[in-house]
C-alpha cells in the first residue's frame, strides 16, 4: 500500500488538476486580503480569525460557503477516475498481478486523496490566517486556534466524503466521464435539492402552522431531513464551531425563548462547541465508511479483465 500511496500522491501533485487546488489556496489568500477589516470590528463577533471564514463583508461569499460549495469539486476531481482510468489504461490488471492486495490499491488511493485534501485545506487555512494576521496585527487566541483546527478536520472529512463518493462511482462506472457526471449529479441533488425537499416534507408533516410550537416542529422536521445531506452537516457543524456565541446550540428553537437572549451574550469554549457538533462529525465519517464498504464489496470480488 505504501508504494501505491506515494505513486498516487505524486500523481495528485504532478497533474494539471493540482492547479485547481492551488487556485483554492489562492482564494483563501485573496479573501483574507479583501475582507473588510473595519466592518468586522463593528459588525463581527469579536473573534477575528473565526469571522475571517464566516464574514461576507468585502467578499462575495464567505470563505466557509465557498468551501462548502466548491470543496466537493476538489474531492470529486481527485476521485472520479481513480479506478476506471487504471482499467481503461490496462494498468489495473498489471498492478493486481503484483503482490499487493486489492484493498491496498483502493486504500492507497483513498489515503493519498485524503492526504492531498489535508494539504490543500491546511494550506488554505494557514495562508488565509497568515495574511489576516499581517492585516489585523494581532495573533489568534488559543480558543480560536482550537476551533480553527476542528474546522479544518471537519472540512477534510467533508471533502473526503466527496472523494469517497467519486471513487465509488469510479468503481461502478467504467467510463470516467460518466463517473464524473454521476458524482456531480449526486452532489447537486443532495446539496441543493435537499433544501427544497426538506421544506416540502416539513410542510406535509406539519401542514398548519398556528403557533410557535408548530413553527418549531416545522423547523425541526426541516432540519432533520436536511441532515441527510453532508453539505448540511458540514455547514451546521462548521457554523457552530466558528461561532463561539451562536455556537452554543444547533437549533435555537430547542431553547426556551426567555433564556435565549441571555445565552446569546456569553460565549462558550471550543470544547463545548465541539461536543455539540460531535454527532455531525460521526455521521459524516459513517457516511464515508458506508461508501467505502459499498466500494469494497464491489471491487474485491470483481473480475479484472485487461
Amino acid at each position: 500500500m505504501r508504494a501505491i500511496f506515494w505513486k498516487e500522491l505524486g500523481d495528485h501533485f504532478g497533474k494539471r488538476r493540482f492547479n485547481l487546488m492551488l487556485g483554492l489556496v489562492l482564494v483563501g489568500v485573496l479573501w483574507a486580503m479583501f475582507v473588510d477589516k473595519d466592518a468586522m470590528v463593528t459588525g463581527g463577533t469579536g473573534s477575528f480569525y473565526l469571522d475571517l471564514f464566516t464574514t461576507t463583508f468585502g467578499v462575495p461569499i464567505s470563505l466557509l460557503s465557498f468551501l462548502s460549495f466548491f470543496g466537493p469539486i476538489i474531492g470529486i476531481t481527485l476521485g472520479f477516475d481513480s479506478i476506471n482510468s487504471e482499467r481503461t489504461q490496462g494498468t489495473l490488471s498489471r498492478i493486481l498481478a503484483q503482490p499487493v492486495y486489492r484493498d491496498a490499491v483502493y486504500n492507497g488511493k483513498f489515503l493519498a486523496g485524503i492526504f492531498t485534501l489535508t494539504m490543500v485545506v491546511f494550506s488554505l487555512g494557514i495562508a488565509a490566517v497568515g495574511v489576516a494576521m499581517f492585516r489585523f496585527g494581532l495573533p489568534p487566541g488559543s480558543d480560536e486556534v482550537l476551533r480553527l483546527i476542528g474546522f479544518g478536520f471537519i472540512t477534510i472529512a467533508y471533502l473526503s466524503f466527496w472523494l469517497a463518493l467519486a471513487m465509488t462511482a469510479s468503481i461502478f462506472l467504467r467510463n470516467a466521464v460518466a463517473s464524473a457526471l454521476v458524482s456531480i449529479g449526486i452532489w447537486i441533488s443532495i446539496s441543493f435539492f435537499i433544501v427544497f425537499a426538506s421544506s416540502t416534507i416539513a410542510d406535509r408533516i406539519v401542514p398548519d402552522i398556528e403557533d410557535v410550537d408548530d413553527q418549531a416542529r416545522h423547523a425541526n422536521v426541516q432540519l432533520w431531513v436536511g441532515r441527510v445531506s453532508p453539505e448540511r452537516l458540514f455547514s451546521e457543524a462548521t457554523g457552530t464551531l466558528l461561532d463561539p456565541i451562536g455556537g452554543r446550540f444547533l437549533n435555537p428553537f430547542g431553547v426556551a425563548p426567555e433564556r435565549l437572549e441571555g445565552l446569546l451574550r456569553s460565549p462558550v469554549s471550543a470544547g463545548q462547541s465541539l461536543q455539540l457538533v460531535w454527532p455531525h462529525i460521526v455521521v459524516l465519517i459513517a457516511m464515508i465508511a458506508s461508501l467505502m464498504s459499498v466500494s469494497y464489496v464491489r471491487f474485491m470480488r470483481e473480475e479484472i479483465r485487461s
Binding site: 501505491i4 489504461q89 499487493v100 479483465r305
Partner: protein, 312 residues
C-alpha cells in the same frame, strides 16, 4: 519428477448460463513451455484470470505454485509474472519510472531494482527509450517493456496472454526467441496463450487446444499430429504431362486415400510412405517429373482440421 507449477482440476467459470470454461484440467510442470491455443472466445483468457485470482472460479480449483490464487494471492503473485492481453502502462511516466513502480510494488530494494531494471531494459532492447514517456512507445516497444515488467520480480512462472497480438513478424520472432531463452537458460516455466498457432509451435514443449471452454487436444506437437492426422503423409508432385492413367496409377498405389490434380500439381494423401512408388509411377507413365516434396504438416493444419469439423 519436476514440480507441478499449475494444477487446474475441473475448473469451471460460468457467466449466467454461458460456460466460458467448462471443467478444465491443466498441468504445467517446471521448466515447461506450454502453448495454450484456441480461437478467440474459447476461454483462454478467463482461465488465465482464474489462475491469477483476478476472477473467481464458479467450480473446481486451480493451484499455482502450490497456492490457491483466491486465498493466498500474494504467494502466487510473488512468483508468477503476468503479461495481460493488452498490457497497459502509465503513459505520462517513462519506461524506467513504470518499472520502478512495479519494483516498488514488489518490495524490491531501490539499489537492487535499479540494477535489475538496467539489465532488463538492456535485454529487451529499450535502453534508448528508457527516459521517454511510455505514451510515445510503439506497440512492440510496449510489449517489450511488458516483458521486462513481468521478469522484474524474477518469477518462476510467466503467463503470457496472447503476447504476439499486434506484433510485426520481427517482433514475433524476437519474442519467441526470448521465450525460448528464458525457458532453456533461466528455467522459467512459460504459459503461453495464443491463437496464432504456427508461431508458437516452434517454442512449445506441449500444447493444449481449447474449444468452448474445454481442452480438446493436448500433447506435444508430434503427438497431436498422430491424434488428428487422417493417416499421416502428404506428397506434392509437380508433373508435366500425364493424363488420367497417371491419376489412376497413383490412386492404385497402396494406402493412398486421395489424389487431386490442379494444373501441374498433384497432391497425394496416403497412410504410408509412397514417395518412391509415386515418383516411379510418374516416370513410368511417360510424364515429366519436375519436382516432389513432402507436405509438412504444421500445428496450424491440425488446428484447422480439428476446428473445420466443428461449428465455431
Amino acid at each position: 519428477m519436476s514440480e507441478l507449477l499449475v494444477e487446474a482440476d475441473g475448473l469451471v467459470k460460468a457467466y449466467g448460463d454461458f460456460l466460458a470454461v467448462d471443467g478444465l484440467n491443466l498441468r504445467l510442470s517446471e521448466g515447461e513451455v506450454y502453448g495454450f491455443l484456441g480461437p478467440n472466445g474459447s476461454g483462454k483468457s478467463t482461465t488465465i484470470l482464474m489462475m491469477l485470482g483476478l476472477t473467481e472460479p464458479t467450480a473446481g480449483g486451480v493451484k499455482v505454485v502450490g497456492h490457491d490464487p483466491m486465498r493466498e494471492p500474494l504467494e502466487v503473485k510473488r512468483q508468477v509474472g503476468y503479461l495481460p492481453e493488452s498490457v497497459g502502462f502509465y503513459g505520462d511516466m517513462t519506461g524506467r519510472e513504470n518499472l520502478m513502480y512495479t519494483a516498488d510494488l514488489n518490495n524490491i530494494r531501490l539499489s537492487d531494482a535499479k540494477a535489475r531494471i538496467d539489465e532488463l531494459l538492456g535485454m529487451v532492447d529499450l535502453v534508448e527509450a528508457t527516459n521517454q514517456p511510455v505514451g510515445q512507445y510503439s506497440r512492440g516497444m510496449r510489449q517489450r517493456l511488458g516483458l521486462a515488467d513481468v521478469l522484474l520480480k524474477r518469477p518462476r512462472v510467466i503467463i503470457l496472454d496472447d503476447p504476439t497480438l499486434g506484433l510485426d513478424p520481427t517482433g514475433i520472432q524476437w519474442l519467441l526467441g526470448m521465450i525460448e531463452d528464458l525457458s532453456t537458460n533461466q528455467g522459467i516455466s512459460v504459459f503461453l496463450s495464443s491463437h496464432q498457432l504456427h508461431e508458437v509451435q516452434q517454442v512449445c514443449h506441449r500444447v493444449g487446444i481449447m474449444s468452448h471452454g474445454k481442452i480438446v487436444l493436448e500433447g506435444t506437437v508430434a503427438e497431436l499430429t498422430e491424434q488428428t492426422g487422417s493417416g499421416g503423409f502428404g506428397l506434392v508432385l509437380e508433373v508435366l504431362g500425364g493424363g488420367d492413367e497417371l491419376m489412376t496409377a497413383l490412386q492404385g498405389l497402396p494406402t493412398v486415400t486421395t489424389c487431386t490434380r490442379v494444373g501441374n500439381e498433384i497432391v497425394v494423401q496416403s497412410g504410408g510412405d509412397v514417395r518412391g512408388q509415386a515418383t516411379a509411377a510418374v516416370v513410368a507413365s511417360g510424364a515429366l517429373l519436375l519436382g516432389a516434396s513432402s507436405e509438412n504438416r504444421t500445428l496450424e493444419d491440425i488446428y484447422l482440421r480439428y476446428f473445420a469439423g466443428q461449428e465455431s
